[in-house]
């Protein structure tokens, strides 16, 4: 069974998406400071407001390009599942709603699974697409997470899940609720294999999604201002009949209350995640010899790689570790693993990565 459906060429892909997504209005208002943002500048700043630093939503494919080395990755095909198990109908049929969303977005479901490397470390990413029915989790999304976990285990890769979801897909009724345990079973497989399971909680991560796989990561990272919580604000307000505290359910609030490990700006995510993976995956096997020999891990050293742009984390432990010695055997294994990905990717002859200036950050 060939579960690698296709290889995405970032340059071409983002071109396609740009065409689709160029807004009629080239300017938009920042939800944070109400400042006007020009679409091209906003894109250059990774959808982070260049006036106030507010992190706007960013398309999941752009996110994958930002995180994976050289913006390259292999998309993993997801299994077909029953689409409308309840024959659900509200004011509109769920089946129609689903079809409309699919044709509008050109995507099958609210989850994308892809594999590649981050700062050389093999990673499977399962990313939610908020534009697809609010990133809600139904059978297809749950199955995507299971597939992502299985792939990570098979490839000895870390699993990074990036939720952006209002919660359960209520049009699938109980079949959406059971995705909570199903997703936890999935990430449990990764943990049992001794592999890192990281969660990057993005805006928003709420309801059944926050109360399942998103809260059982080895490490929880979030972006500034992201909304994270179990119950909706309105429900809470109606229950307690009082105003909610300032900054309630933001990433910073969760950080203060011990629920996440760190809040990281978008431009620093790759370096931070790369460093964490390096520490987690090397220490365990190499007896503290760290990221020795990481020098060559990005395939060929000739490209400076996206690392240059993203080496802006406060303290760059990763590059410090890189100056350490090499542990040959493991390094070879890793190279071999990376090569498989690299070979296909190089056929895409994709040296020009998408514009990823960190100007706004």
């Amino acid at each position: 069974m060939n579960w690698i459906s296709n290889i995405i060429r970032p340059k071409i892909r983002s071109f396609v998406h740009q065409q689709k997504e160029v807004p009629d209005n080239l300017w938009q208002k920042c939800p944070g400071c109400e400042g006007m943002l020009f679409h091209r500048d906003l894109e250059n700043s990774l959808n982070v407001c260049y006036h106030c630093g507010h992190h706007l939503k960013i398309d999941i494919f752009k996110r994958l390009e930002l995180l994976f080395d050289e913006g390259r990755y292999e998309k993993i095909a997801l299994p077909d599942v029953p689409h409308d198990p309840l024959k659900f109908k509200d004011r509109k049929k769920y089946a129609d709603r689903l079809k409309e969303t699919q044709s509008r977005t050109g995507r099958d479901e609210a989850i994308i699974v892809a594999k590649g490397t981050i700062e050389g470390a093999p990673v499977v990413i399962a990313g939610f697409d908020f534009s697809f029915m609010g990133g809600s989790m139904g059978t297809a999304v749950g199955e995507g997470l299971v597939r992502a976990a299985e792939t990570a285990v098979r490839e000895h890769a870390a699993l990074l899940v990036i939720p952006a979801s209002g919660g359960a897909r209520m049009q699938e009724g109980m079949l959406s609720l059971i995705q909570m345990p199903r997703s936890i079973i999935a990430v449990d497989m990764v943990k049992e294999a001794g592999l890192p399971y990281l969660v990057l909680l993005t805006d928003p991560t709420t309801g059944g999604v926050s109360a399942s796989f998103a809260m059982v990561g080895d490490i929880h990272i979030s972006e500034p201002g992201a909304m994270i919580g179990f119950a909706g604000k309105r429900v809470i307000e109606e229950t307690i009949r009082e105003k909610l505290p300032e900054g309630f359910q933001t990433a910073e609030y969760l950080l203060e209350h011990g629920m996440i490990d760190m809040v990281v700006e978008r431009k620093d995510l790759k370096a931070t995640i790369g460093r964490i993976l390096d520490l987690l995956m090397n220490v365990r096997k190499e007896n503290g010899n760290g990221g020795g020999g990481r020098k060559n891990r990005n395939g060929n050293g000739k490209k400076s790689g996206p690392s240059k742009v993203y080496r802006s984390a406060p303290i760059d432990y990763a590059s410090a570790a890189r100056t350490a010695g090499t542990v040959a055997s493991l390094e070879d294994k890793k190279k071999e693993r990376t090569r498989k990905t690299a070979v296909v990717a190089e056929q895409a002859e994709n040296t020009a990565r998408p514009r990823k200036s960190a100007a706004g950050g």
């Binding site: 109980m174 079949l175 345990p181 109360a211 809260m215 119950a231 809470i236 359910q249």
Partner: protein, 315 residues
């Protein structure tokens, strides 16, 4: 409040029967006959009404205040109940009591949501809506079951996890997620029964079991019909339609492969014959435990995982 609108004709009839019984204490034959006729009519009405309850009506029956609640089941089915309190971190949550007990000779862990029986106890139990402390205590109990190889019985009856500032602050999401994880790690037989209302994440947090049963008129749903209606229909008044669309009845969920069996309620619902309801539930738990007790820890965990992984794949 405890009266169901659609039961009105039955309740009137039952009221009259009750009155007649009071005046016929001297053994009037005519009155006794009349009572018999009326009782037969009431039973017929009950059978008709309860034989075809709509999903929305089932939601009301499932929430009926006179249904047996967690502590009623514990009283009647378990001996030596030894409630254990606290999550060892913050507080004791009375919405989710639990502890050690003996079920027909077998020492076990029993836990569940308690909605309360009167105004005072309902407030004390927070109407069965647990906070993170409750779910962390549940984790504690499941870990204990693991450590001492005790089977777990979970009785589910909640509108949902409590939505409050403190609950969010202390990590309601994390508490529920970890509770689900604890369920999956239990290496002993694990039976869950939805005895009333199975409300979303707060319910499934203690419901990831080897065998999942529902009482005949209980409901289990990802969201309340009212909540669903206000989001998808933009009006809470469409809750009846939402209740139907959500497929939240025991009968629907058995068809969808979410649950393993339905426990028949006595004629007219659990609230008309509480003891009988509890006894029937006890019989089902006993049978399920009997089947699962011989299994070893590894295969129980494995099978539980498989069960959930297979759910919905071929709906």
């Amino acid at each position: 409040m405890s009266q169901l609108e659609f039961e009105k004709p039955i309740l009137e009839l039952e009221g009259k029967i009750h009155e007649l019984r009071n005046v016929s204490s001297n053994g009037d034959v005519n009155i006794a006959e009349e009572i018999g006729r009326m009782q037969a009519k009431a039973d017929r009405l009950l059978r008709q009404t309860y034989g075809k309850l709509t999903p929305a009506q089932k939601v009301l029956v499932a929430r009926h205040q006179n249904r047996p609640h967690f502590l009623d089941y514990v009283d009647r089915l378990f001996t030596d109940f030894t409630p254990l309190a606290g999550d060892r971190r913050f507080a004791e949550d009375h919405a989710l009591p639990g502890g050690l007990a003996r079920f027909r000779g077998t020492s076990c862990v029993v836990l569940g949501h308690e909605k309360g029986a009167d105004t005072e106890s309902r407030i004390r139990h927070n109407f069965g809506m647990a906070r993170p402390e409750g779910y962390r205590k549940a984790q504690r109990l499941m870990d204990m079951a693991n450590r001492f190889q005790l089977p777990v019985v979970a009785l589910i009856d909640t509108a949902g996890a409590y939505p409050g500032v403190g609950a969010e602050e202390r990590g309601q999401s994390e508490a529920i997620a970890k509770s689900i994880e604890s369920c999956l790690h239990v290496g002993t037989p694990f039976i869950a029964v939805i005895i009333g209302e199975g409300g979303s994440g707060g319910a499934i947090a203690i419901g990831v079991a080897d065998r999942i049963y529902m009482l005949e008129h209980s409901v289990y749903s990802v969201i309340s019909p009212e909540g669903c209606a206000s989001i998808l229909w933009r009006s809470a008044t469409q809750a009846n339609e939402a209740a139907t669309a959500l497929k939240l009845t025991a009968q629907d969920l058995l068809r969808l492969g979410i649950i393993d069996g339905i426990i028949d309620e006595p004629l007219g619902g659990a609230h008309r014959n509480r003891d009988e309801t509890v006894d029937r539930t006890g019989a089902v738990i006993e049978k399920a435990l009997g089947e699962l007790m011989p299994c070893d820890s590894a295969s129980l965990r494995q099978e539980r995982r498989k069960k959930f992984l297979e759910m919905g794949r071929a709906a």
